[in-house]
């Protein structure tokens, strides 16, 4: 059993797959540097992210399972979960060893787990398409702040670009300090300017468009009126809109 320590990047993960073949390690435990805790025994191997090695593994995977399935693997990586990283590692090795058609071998634990994580991330991506609520600023910008469970912001840019082609918008992931901004031409990633620890963070005040409050309350009214009290079923309601999402939703009083 060999422990691989990698930096948590996608390239690092792919490099680990490459190295495991180069070094002929069959039994590998993958761990990120952040989570690594030295053990008494066992071999430890530090993986250095290498773009070239990563690209070779990625190309090999694309050849075996196609671009679409590879994209799915990338979405699994966005779950930011070490267990998912381990399954991706195992998945890649399983397919390289046994052939690309194994991607439908749902009896295998890696294949099934990767499908499961892909579904989880996809569900969160879908929720962000649904639960993002824009506010309109006085300068015409529509903006929203989110804190998704997984890093799904890169996956929803195109959706909002196709939908809101004639309005400027900004979606900001507060947890990961990453934003997507559309300027009527293209979507680009934006990051807040680095703030030194000493400087007091000043919350920039945004002035809202004068009609914004009216439409927020109209939406809240609508939400109330469209509910049928005789059929009230809060258990079902909570299953569809878990409480952690309420912070996005003006109709839930936020």
């Amino acid at each position: 059993m060999v422990t691989y320590i990698f930096d948590g990047s996608f390239a690092g993960l792919l490099t680990a797959v490459f190295d495991s073949y180069a070094l002929r390690h069959h039994e590998v435990v993958l761990v990120t540097r952040q989570e690594y805790q030295p053990a008494f025994s066992g071999t430890v191997c530090e993986i250095r992210s290498d773009e070239e090695k990563a690209a070779r593994v990625w190309k090999g995977l694309e050849k075996k399972i196609g671009g679409r399935q590879c994209h799915k693997l990338y979405t699994v990586y966005l779950s930011e979960d070490t267990d998912a990283f381990r399954h991706l590692f195992g998945y890649a090795r399983y397919l390289f060893d046994n052939g690309g058609d194994r991607l439908r071998d749902y009896g295998n634990s890696h294949v099934l787990a990767v499908e499961g994580y892909a579904k989880k991330v996809s569900r969160e991506r879908h929720r962000m398409k649904a639960f993002v609520r824009f506010k309109k600023a006085s300068n015409g910008l529509y903006f929203a702040v989110i804190t998704p469970d997984f890093n799904v912001l890169p996956l929803i840019g195109d959706h909002f670009k196709n939908r809101y082609a004639d309005q400027k918008w900004l979606i900001y992931d507060r947890r990961r300090q990453l934003g997507m901004y559309y300027d009527l031409h293209q979507v680009c990633e934006v990051k807040p300017e680095a703030v030194t620890a000493a400087s007091v963070s000043v919350q920039a005040e945004v002035t809202l468009d004068e009609t914004d409050e009216l439409y927020t309350s109209l939406w809240q009214d609508y939400f109330k009126s469209t509910s049928i009290t005789e059929r009230k079923n809060l258990k079902l309601h909570l299953r569809h809109v878990p409480k952690r999402y309420w912070k996005y939703l003006p109709e839930k009083g936020f």
């Binding site: 099934l112 879908h126 439409y215 939406w219 609508y222 049928i228 569809h240």
Partner: protein, 417 residues
């Protein structure tokens, strides 16, 4: 100004909420020329406290109505506040909600004022303004007004993604009793107009690519269940007939919520038939996605669904000869008939078994409802069983070992909290 529009929205959203359809999927309208909106697989932007999806801004243009249908909250004899939106108001509500990502689109219905064509013409003005002036490509579900002229309905089809007209009651007799001005014949006529035009245009599209879109998300209808004394068999046979003759995308079943003191219907305060509604939807799904014929599920010997168990399990218990099905060898459609295995799991099983026989631990992980399915299937390590199990025993075992969301509702026991 803002108070007035808020009141209108409250009245006209409240009156529209009994239309259950909120689907926003199935259309393929794409954003053109840097306009706003596009449609795709549909998104539920929120859920009401009764657990229904909020995908569309569902409103009536007005709740003034010349008809007096006993089951309808906007009936002319009902003493409720009346209101009417202007065309501009509906358009600006839709656009502003859409731009803030509150909704997928607009669901526009209306009470009938003056006459059918007058009402339809106003609704047509709303959708035309949205599509032609606002360059809006989001979803539009338009209710066809019964009795509207063919030209008007056909023109609306050029701008709407989905159109629907409600059967209201499952049988003609029931409808005649509660809504003498309406008839199923009328519904057939309107559904037929859209169906024929759709067929005609899709034929033309094969030759000329630029033929305009026409109701790309198809048609749907709705029936109220539990207001009149139909059996489940009658309801589902009607649904099946409409699915087949008008290629409907959906039939909705709406459990009747008493809103009237009319003695011909359940009294106010009676709880809506939620279990029955659920079982009807399950039957509908079995018809559309599981390859069941409706006469297998409901027939003269078995005219009403069993409220205690789902219709697929019920069918399985009535047909023990079909089981057990071996998941490692049986055809896909046979696996689909095993209670506890759905479409996604059945597909996974068929793919996975190419790489080796499937065992219990794998089937559990794939996500089937193993406790239910085990009585009806064989797998690589299934226990040896000599005699056939009695369906009545299986039924009791499953009921004892499972938790139904309706358990409390069925035995009438009150929950403590």
């Amino acid at each position: 100004m803002s108070e007035r529009i808020r009141e209108k929205l409250r009245i006209l959203a409240d009156a529209a909420k009994y239309d259950v359809s909120c689907a926003s999927s199935g259309s393929n309208r794409k954003n053109t020329a840097k306009g706003i909106g596009d449609t795709g697989s549909g998104i539920c932007h929120s859920y009401t406290e009764d657990g229904r999806c909020v995908s569309l801004l569902k409103i009536l243009l007005t709740n003034h109505c010349i008809y007096d249908c006993a089951f309808c909250v906007s009936r002319s004899s009902n003493d409720v506040k009346r209101a009417a939106f202007t065309v501009e108001e509906v358009v600006s509500l839709t656009m502003n909600f859409y731009r803030r990502n509150y909704i997928e689109g607009l669901f526009l219905s209306s009470g009938i004022f003056k006459n059918a064509d007058y009402t339809m013409e106003r609704m047509l003005r709303v959708v035309k303004k949205l599509r032609l002036e606002e360059n809006y490509n989001g979803y539009i579900h338009l209710k066809t007004i019964p009795g509207a002229s063919e030209e008007m309905v056909t023109e609306a089809g050029l701008y709407a993604d989905r159109m629907s007209i409600n059967l209201e009651m499952p049988t003609e007799a029931g409808l005649k009793m509660l809504a003498p001005e309406k008839s199923h014949e009328e519904v057939r006529r309107e559904l037929g107009v859209i169906r024929n035009k759709s067929l005609q245009l899709s034929d033309e599209r094969k030759v000329i690519r630029s033929v305009p879109k026409f109701v790309p998300a198809g048609q749907s209808t709705q029936m109220v269940v539990g207001a009149t004394p139909e059996s489940d068999m009658e309801i589902m046979y009607i649904a099946d007939h409409f699915y087949k003759s008008f290629s409907l995308k959906r039939v909705y079943y709406s459990g009747y919520i008493p809103i009237s003191a009319d003695t011909r219907m359940p009294v106010i305060g009676t709880s809506p038939p939620l279990i029955r509604e659920n079982r009807l939807y399950q039957t509908d799904w079995l018809m559309r996605f599981y390859g069941f014929e409706i006469k297998e599920l409901l027939n003269g010997d078995f005219p009403d669904l069993d409220p205690a168990i789902d219709p697929k399990l019920s069918w399985a218990l009535r047909n023990p000869a079909f089981f057990p099905v071996d998941v490692n060898t049986a055809a896909y459609h046979a696996i689909l008939r095993i209670p506890g295995i759905g479409v996604a799991s059945a597909r996974k099983i068929v793919s996975a078994r190419k790489f080796g026989r499937l065992h219990a631990y794998q089937l559990r992980k794939i996500g089937i409802a193993f406790n239910r399915a085990q009585h009806f299937m064989r797998y690589a390590d299934s226990p040896v069983q000599l005699n056939e199990k009695d369906p009545a025993v299986i039924r009791q075992t499953i009921l004892n070992n499972s938790q139904s969301k309706f358990r409390n509702g069925l035995n009438g026991q009150l929950t403590l909290f």
